[in-house]
C-alpha cells in the first residue's frame, strides 16, 4: 500500500487482495473449543501478560457464526466429534483451524477407543501446535502463522461452494 498526496487529499493505492487480507489477518475472531487443559492454557494467552489483543485476535466469540478461527484445544472424544464438525460447518467462510496441543493434533497419550486420533482426520487443520499443553508463546506463534497464511491468500482463489449431491 502506498499513501499518495494530491492537492491536500490523502489517497491509498492498493489492491483488493492486499486490503482484504490486511483486514482479515488483523481482526481474527477466534472461537475456542476448549475441552481440556489446553483450554485453560488458552485463557492465559488472552490475559494481560501475553495479551493476544496485540495481534488483533482478542474478540473471542463463543458462537461459531461470528468467528473465523476455530481453535480446538483438547482431546475430542467420539461423542464430541459430530458436535465439532457441526460447529466448523456453521462458521462463515473464510475460516481457519488451529489444532492446539498433542491431543487435538494426534490424540496424544489417549490411544483408546473413545478418543479421536487427531481432528485432522476429519477437519482441514491449518496450523498444529505441539506441546502438552503448549506455552502461550507457541499459541501466539501459531496465530502469526495463520496471519502469514492469510497474507498470501487471494480472493481470486476462492470459488463458490459446489453443491454436493448425496450418493
Amino acid at each position: 500500500m502506498g499513501v499518495e498526496r494530491s492537492g491536500g487529499i490523502g489517497w491509498l493505492s492498493t489492491t483488493v487482495d492486499a486490503f482484504a487480507n490486511w483486514a482479515r489477518k488483523n481482526s481474527l475472531w477466534p472461537m475456542p473449543f476448549g475441552t481440556a487443559c489446553c483450554g485453560i492454557e488458552f485463557m492465559s494467552v488472552l490475559a494481560s501478560r501475553h495479551d493476544m489483543a496485540r495481534f488483533g485476535a482478542e474478540a473471542i466469540r463463543f458462537s461459531p457464526r461470528q468467528s473465523d478461527l476455530l481453535l480446538v484445544a483438547g482431546r475430542i472424544p467420539i461423542k464430541m466429534m459430530p458436535v465439532l464438525t457441526r460447529i466448523y460447518e456453521q462458521m462463515p467462510e473464510p475460516k481457519w483451524i488451529i489444532a492446539m496441543g498433542a491431543c487435538a493434533s494426534s490424540g496424544g497419550v489417549f490411544d483408546t477407543y473413545s478418543v479421536v486420533q487427531g481432528i485432522d482426520n476429519f477437519l482441514p487443520v491449518d496450523v498444529y501446535i505441539p506441546g502438552c499443553p503448549p506455552r502461550p508463546e507457541a499459541i501466539l506463534d501459531a496465530l502469526i502463522k495463520i496471519q502469514k497464511l492469510i497474507k498470501r491468500d487471494s480472493l481470486g482463489h476462492y470459488k463458490p461452494p459446489v453443491e454436493e449431491t448425496a450418493t
Binding site: Y113, S114, V116, Q117, F122, P161
Partner: protein
Amino acid sequence: MLPKDQLTVVIKEKFPDSFLEITDFRDMLTIHIRGEQVLDLLRTLKTDPRFAFNFLADITAVDHLEMDAPARFAVVYHLLNQHEVRRIVVRAWVDEEHPSLPSVYPLWKTADWQEREVYDLFGIEFTGHPDLRRIMTPDDFQHHPLRKDYPLQGRGERSNFPVVKRRIGSKWQEDKSVQ
C-alpha cells in the same frame, strides 16, 4: 453391626442357595452372593435393623475374564450405614451368558444412573430398571468397552466420521513453501 462369623450365619441361613462366602480385608466385609438373590439380600441389609445400610454409595462391576472366579462378572455394591458410619460390600456374581441382575432401583433411586453405567460399559442388564439406556457412550454404540475382551483401541469407532473438506479452495493448500 454383627461381627463376621455371626453375619455369616445370619446371611447363610437366609440365603442358603445363593450365598457363597464372606471375605474380610482390613475390617471391610464383603458378602459374595449369586446374582439372582442380590435384590433380596440388599433389601435385608437395608431394612433389617441389625444392619440398616440406608445409603447406596456406589455400583460398579469387575470383569474376571480368564481368572479364577465363581463367574465372569462381579457387580459390586457399596453400602453405607449413615447412623453408625459402617460400610459393607456386596459382590453379586453373574455368568457370561446373558448377564442379568434384578435392579435395585426400588430400594435406592440413585441406582438409576449407576446401573445404566454398568449396563453401558459391561453389558449387564438390570431387569426392572425403569430406563435402561446407555449413559456414557454414544447412543448408537455397539459394544461394551470395559469388558476385557474389547480391544483397547476399539473396533473402528474413533474413525467412523464424515470427513469435512475445505469448501473453498485456498492457495496455501497447494503452496508448500508457506511455513
